[in-house]
């Protein structure tokens, strides 16, 4: 049987890919996608720990579902913001949106 550590390693790799995407991509939508990857890595962790450590409870699944819901609404808000930014400034490249510069 596949042990818990496989899942954890997979989740860590997924998290790193997401993090790399967030930090390296210029397109804001790609950054958003990276964030989704990181959230999914967390979900993998939650489900894995539930299955291996405490299968009698349903807390892991509940957390995972809450994270889905939050991520979905976050994406909805984020995309709306990007559309708004694009309409005003004609771009959604992250390094060109520097209104908060000194």
């Amino acid at each position: 049987m596949i042990s818990l550590s496989w899942y954890l390693i997979f989740a860590a790799a997924l998290f790193c890919i997401g993090l790399f995407g967030v930090l390296s991509r210029k397109n804001a939508i790609a950054i958003l996608m990276g964030i989704e990857l990181m959230l999914n890595a967390v979900n993998v962790n939650l489900v894995a720990f539930w299955r291996y450590v405490n299968p009698g409870q349903i807390t892991g699944q509940v957390f995972a579902i809450i994270v889905f819901a939050v991520a979905a609404s976050e994406v909805a808000v984020g995309l709306a913001l990007f559309i708004s930014i694009y309409r005003r400034r004609g771009t959604i490249a992250a390094d060109e949106i520097d209104l908060m510069k000194w």
Partner: protein, 725 residues
Amino acid sequence: MRTELLIWLLPLPPLLAFFIIILFSNKSKWLSHSIAVGAALLSFLGAMIVIYRAITTPHLGENPFTSNIRWIPTGDTWLTIGVQVDPLTAIVLFFVAWTVLMIFIYSVGYHNFGKPKGDHDQPGLPPHGSTVSDAHGHKQRIFSIEPMYSRFFAFIGLFAFGMYVLVVSNNLLTLFIGWEIMGLCSYLLIGFWFSKPSARNAAIKAFMTTRIGDVFLLLGIVYLYTATGTLSYQDIFRNPEVLHNLATIPSPIMGLSTAALIGILIFIGTIGKSAQWPLHVWLPDAMEGPTPVSAMIHAATMVSAGVYLVIRCFPLLSAGAENGGLTPPMIFMAVIGTITAIFAATIAITQNDIKRVLAYSTISQLGFMIAALGIGGYVAALFHLVTHAFFKALLFLGSGSVIHGMEHGVYHSGQHIDPQDMYNMGGLRKKMPITFWTFTIGGLALAGFPLLTAGFWSKDEIFADSFAHAPIVFIILAISALLTAIYTMRQISLTFLGNPRTKEAEHAHESHWTMTYPLIILAFFAIVFGWLGIPEDFPLIGGLVPNFLHDFVGSTLLEHPEALPFNPIPLITSLLVSLGGLLIGWLIYRNIPNGAVDPLQKPLGKFYTVLKNKYYFDEFYQWAIIKPSIWFADVFVSVWMDRKVIDGFLHWFAFISMEIGRFLRNFIDKPIINGFGDLVGEVTKRTGFIIRPMQTGKIQQYMIMALVTLAAFTILFYYLLISVR
């Protein structure tokens, strides 16, 4: 009502009247004088009840009406104050109550109540009269009402309060309080017409001069309290042990006993208040005040307070005298009193102002009392004090009435002559009969007209006492009495007898009833009161009326003073000087024509000028005291001390302070404090300048930074918290 409670209440109505008038009723002249006269009447009625009970109480001298309250805690004892009515108080209260009430009523008329407002009158000046036109259109000037009418009644109310407090108090402290209240009222009332420079100066002079005496009096009181621990009359004056101690313990000054030193200090207070030589100068100038004030303060009550004080303190003053000997304070009093009596009498002969003559006469008569007390004539001094209060109040009020009548003439003629100068009068007996008769009665009492008048009996007693104890005093007092009779007759002759010397005197007019009725009542006492003190063994009439005064008042002392055996010499002298003086005065002054100089001017020569100028005492004080004082104030204190020394010190001090301040600013404040403040700002600014490129506005860089920081902290915590365990 209990007598003690009644005594406590006696001084209160005039005080309440003062506050009510000042605070509420001063707009209404009618209300103000009603309140004041009503208050005086209340006190008067209370005083009469108290006196009646005092007279009908046997052995009042041993057990006077008295009541004490605790007032000020002094360490573990209490300073008690209280009231007391013993025979001496009762007699003094009698004349105070009567004269105060009479003068209150008289003031209503004197200040022209019911007359219109003056044309040009203003507060601070005497009324100048107003012009009215009658039914036929004739314009005529009449009296105008005093502009500060209510203020006057408020002040004399306060004054009456002071006098009542002084009389009913049973200790020297409250006596002193009343004494000072009267000093203040005297100042306020002499300066009542404060827009007149002469009135202002007179007020200041009176206040300053009496202040000299007051300081000594206070010293005496303090010394007495230190020596005995009490200020109550009963504990000191009726306690042989205390008196004996005071008389035997020596004081630090000049080998006097404690009693003698205290006595002299207290007597100096009297010199100031009762205008004795050499502090007499304020009293004649005090005539600047309205005439009721002159009568009340400067004849009947306040100056009497000084004599009352020494009569009250007589057991102390005479402590240590054995077998009729005299103590140092008594000798001092005899000397001062005698000098004052003759000194003031000589000046009075040459004065032309009707009120000034009376002022000097007052000084002289007060001298009689002091001299009488100095030779041990306790009852005689009090007797003369009372009769003098009545006839001198009468004379002053009479002179006020005369002045009023003359002012009527002045309004009629429209000329500016002095309505107080006796040489402008003459023949007023027909114009002002009531004033004439009452004034004459007062004058005869002052001159000591035999048998009938009060002044004769009191003066006779002083003569008898002085003849028995100190013949020199007797001779000088006799000469003074002769002069008294002369100047009194001079005054009566110049004012009332002969023919009018001016048009104004022709048109003089009798005064209002509020002024004449008090005159009549006071004239009654100026005659009748003397009959209370007729010696038992006087030829013919002695014993017809019992010698009430001697028995009653004498019981105030521990040892009842013995009545002197009758001696014809003082009686004959008394008759001679009074009748002779009156005759001389009448012969010289009976018919002076208009514009004549004083008949005494030629025979007296240079001496007349000296007398006319009052022995140059004012000039002497001006030269010896006032000028040096002003020099001291102006040159020494102001220019040298104040501007040079004190200002110099202050400037130097300011300079030093400035230098210290400059040093602190340049070497502490600027470099250290400011430097630190600047440093903080600069460092913050530089730091910000250095690290601000970090704020790129690029979200991904921020995230990297956050990641790096998080990683760093994670590692840090791992090593610090986890691996250490």
